[in-house]
């Protein structure tokens, strides 16, 4: 009896191994999407809508981060490689080159909308009004020791009052995303660089040292890298009213009963202020399309048509319900026609 059991087990194992080899040659009948965790909540809504209202299968959307997604996207052409990738930043020149080397020569760029980055704290505490300069002075590793920034010192600021006498004497404690995150990239670019610009001597430095001076975050416990999970930051802020968090606007939007966003340059992070561009910390979100797959994978054109339809990304579309800030009408029309005409990416 045991011999029989062993024989059956061996047969099953062989069958599985056989399946493994046959699966390799299989044709893919669904769209494969990878990329940014910030764009993930939006692309998945479109994917679900698409899968449930058309004859096509629901696309599979992986959350790999912008950089990881572009790496997979650029790995080559063929059914084993993804068709689309989400990105919370624009594709880089080096990435286009890598794509080209692997045969991915034609890429179409689709901007899908905007996302705001909020600096928020618990409602139990006071709301602050900050400027990029305040945030730079509070969070950079080295800060200017004199007015024009020609001398620099390790960041001595312990409270917000040290940074700007108008702010309360609240301990600086900011939870933010790690360097691998697209949110972090956008934050340093939009806030830290802008704060840096106000110091003439730093502004005059050459590119590399200037970047190091502006973009290095402090590591003495006042800025804490809290991981990629924004919900975790939200929970931590609720438990610790003194702390601030840096995360995507949609999480602030879903937690308005617990959190409040700090004004940046006097503008509060709100749907309308991000849409009209008056809130300074917002970034575009992209989807990149592999042209060579358009006629190989069924449903790709229809999926893109769904994504660029007014009922999805329009002002009253279902994506805006999920927290995506729509582009102005003209921009929407332009990107929609670019995608329809498959205009190649030009950096």
């Amino acid at each position: 009896m045991y011999r029989k059991a062993m024989l059956t087990a061996a047969a099953v194992a062989l069958a599985v191994a056989g399946l493994a080899t046959s699966a390799a040659a299989q044709q893919r009948d669904y769209i494969q999407i990878v990329g940014s965790s910030t764009v993930y909540p939006f692309t998945t809504v479109v994917a679900e809508q698409f899968g449930k209202t058309t004859k096509f299968k629901t696309p599979k959307v992986e959350s790999t981060g912008s950089g990881g997604g572009l790496k997979l996207f650029c790995a080559g052409v063929g059914v084993e490689h993804p068709d689309l990738t989400n990105s919370s930043r624009r594709i880089k020149n080096t990435e286009v080159e890598r794509c080209g080397k692997n045969g991915v020569k034609e890429i179409v760029e689709l901007k899908v909308g905007y996302d705001g980055i909020a600096v928020a704290n618990s409602k139990k505490s006071k709301a602050l009004s900050l400027t990029p300069r305040d945030l730079f002075l509070a969070l950079a590793k080295d800060v200017p020791a004199n007015a024009d920034g020609s001398k620099r010192q390790a960041n001595p600021h312990k409270t917000w009052k040290d940074v700007n006498p108008k702010l309360p004497a609240l301990k600086i404690e900011v939870l933010g995303p790690p360097p691998t995150s697209g949110t972090r990239d956008a934050f340093v670019e939009l806030v830290m660089d802008a704060g840096c610009k106000e110091f003439a001597a730093i502004e005059k430095m050459s590119k590399q040292p200037r970047r190091a001076a502006c973009r290095t975050m402090r590591e003495d416990g006042h800025f804490v890298e809290a991981g990629e999970n924004d919900n975790l930051i939200v929970q931590k802020l609720d438990a610790n009213p003194d702390a601030f968090g840096i995360f995507g606007f949609s999480f602030l939007d879903q937690n308005t009963d617990k959190l409040q966003g700090a004004s940046i340059n006097g503008v509060k992070p709100e749907f309308e202020t991000i849409a009209d561009g008056s809130y300074p910390v917002s970034r575009p979100l992209y989807v990149y399309i592999k042209k060579a797959h358009l006629d190989v994978i069924s449903g790709m054109r229809e999926f893109l048509a769904e994504y660029t339809s007014e009922k999805a990304w329009g002002e009253d579309g279902y994506l805006s319900d999920k927290g995506l800030i729509p582009m102005p009408k003209q921009e929407r029309q332009q990107f929609s026609s670019d995608v329809k005409n498959l205009k190649n990416l030009a950096l």
């Binding site: 194992a13 599985v16 399946l19 679900e48 599979k60 279902y318």
Partner: protein, 429 residues
């Protein structure tokens, strides 16, 4: 003057109190440790169950629906293509607005239509496609409400907060309260949660897709790792000579059992996906990776079970003329099997709860369609929990806790099975 030597009993008495105290201290310390462990366990359960319990209920609203032929089938020829692509959203909007005829203004009319879940559109479409004779019919159907209202009905929205601080304005709460007063709101068992795949709408999201993904993965893992593990254990324990090579293998197996699971994910990505060209996100690859991970556990448990079979059994079998293989297959293996099975089940339970290696092979994905085979795109239960906890919608937190409860139930069942097997079949010599 020297003291007279103490008698034994005196020496015992002198230290008795101290030794008794030491024993009590140790016992109390042990109790405190157990108690501390229990307190944390209870805290975890209370936290998960109290958050996750409401997810097993879903708020439904009764909608009067008119399957308007003008919208659904303007030509009237019941063509499936037309029926499939009709604007069911318009039906839902018309239906909700008919409950609130007084609501005016573009924004309010739009908001009121969002009372019903976005899934209502798909539900109506399915109904019509399944039964085209519904076109032109007026009926009342129960549909899930949007997750914000579901949270309100479950008491997760604090009505005392100022209006600006809530996800739902006073108007919206007013609409909902009116529906309650009209008897159109009902809390029902959330069957969707156990039948559906993932969704971006919390009220439509379910764990069935993830559960099937986990199931396929465990089938692959079990069918590969059990025979391989048992064969390896038997060979190493019964046949292999004791020399440098085998002891090197032994050290390596013990080492592998302690390797962090993410490493197996990296290996899986490099070998199974990049080298063999297997599809990403498939339970097949997940199962293969988990096989690598559980093999050492099964081999170690199997060898321990084999060594615990007393040599007298082997000698008796050999003594009456059995060959070595007969001795193993007829006598040793049956006696060692309960121990091996226990090890296997514990290994499987560990594989079920594993996420880290799955990150690398693309199983952290949004998969709506229920996987039908080991090569379909799928995700797994613990990954689903991770994805839901990462979503901004508040209602997903409770769904995630409910999914944790389901996962824990599976794990407890598997471990209980292991204990039962051990109790029932284990023999002591």
């Amino acid at each position: 003057m020297a003291t007279p030597p103490k008698s034994t009993i005196e020496r015992v008495r002198a230290t008795l109190a101290r030794r008794n105290r030491a024993e009590r201290r140790f016992k109390n310390l042990g109790r405190a440790a157990v108690l501390l462990g229990l307190v944390f366990l209870v805290l975890m359960f209370v936290n998960i169950i109290s958050t996750g319990y409401p997810a097993f209920w879903q708020t439904y609203v009764k909608l009067p629906v008119y399957f308007d032929p003008q919208v659904v089938d303007p030509q009237g020829n019941r063509d499936r293509e037309t029926l499939g692509s009709a604007d069911y959203g318009a039906l839902v909007k018309a239906s909700v607005r008919s409950l609130f005829p007084e609501v005016e203004g573009r924004r309010d009319r739009r908001d009121v239509a969002k009372l019903a879940s976005r899934g209502t559109v798909f539900q109506l479409r399915r109904m019509v496609l399944a039964d085209p004779s519904l076109v032109g019919v007026r009926t009342e159907i129960w549909v899930p409400v949007d997750d914000d209202y579901d949270m309100l009905h479950k008491g997760n929205v604090d009505r005392t907060l100022p209006e600006a601080d809530r996800r739902l304005s006073d108007r919206k709460i007013g609409w909902f309260d009116r529906l309650i007063a009209e008897g159109r709101i009902e809390s029902r068992f959330n069957a969707t949660f156990f039948q559906a795949g993932d969704s971006r709408e919390p009220e439509l999201a379910g764990i069935w897709g993830a559960a099937m993904g986990s199931f396929f993965m465990l089938v692959v893992t079990l069918s590969l790792s059990f025979p391989l593990g048992v064969a390896t254990a038997v060979y190493l324990e019964e046949f292999a000579p004791r020399n440098r090579v085998t002891s090197l293998i032994e050290v390596n197996i013990n080492n592998l059992a302690a390797v962090p699971s993410i490493v197996f994910g990296l290996l899986g990505l490099a070998v199974f996906i990049n080298l063999f060209g297997l599809p990403r996100s498939a339970p097949l690859v997940g199962g293969l990776v988990l096989t690598l991970m559980t093999l050492p556990t099964i081999i170690i448990a199997g060898r321990a079970a084999l060594t615990s079979v007393p040599p007298s059994i082997r000698e008796a079998a050999l003594g009456i003329g059995a060959s070595k293989l007969q001795m193993i297959v007829h006598h040793v293996l049956p006696l060692a099997m309960p121990g091996m099975l226990t090890g296997t089940i514990i290994g499987m339970a560990r594989a079920l709860g594993e996420t880290a290696p799955l990150l690398m092979i693309g199983m952290v994905a949004f998969v709506v369609d229920i996987p039908q085979s080991v090569t379909d795109a799928a995700t797994a239960l613990p990954v689903q929990i991770f994805l839901w906890l990462d979503s901004p919608e508040r209602a997903f937190v409770e769904r995630a806790s409910a999914a944790i409860m389901v996962l824990l139930a599976f794990l407890i069942a598997m471990n209980a099975l292991a204990i039962v097997l051990r109790r029932r079949f284990e023999r002591r010599w």
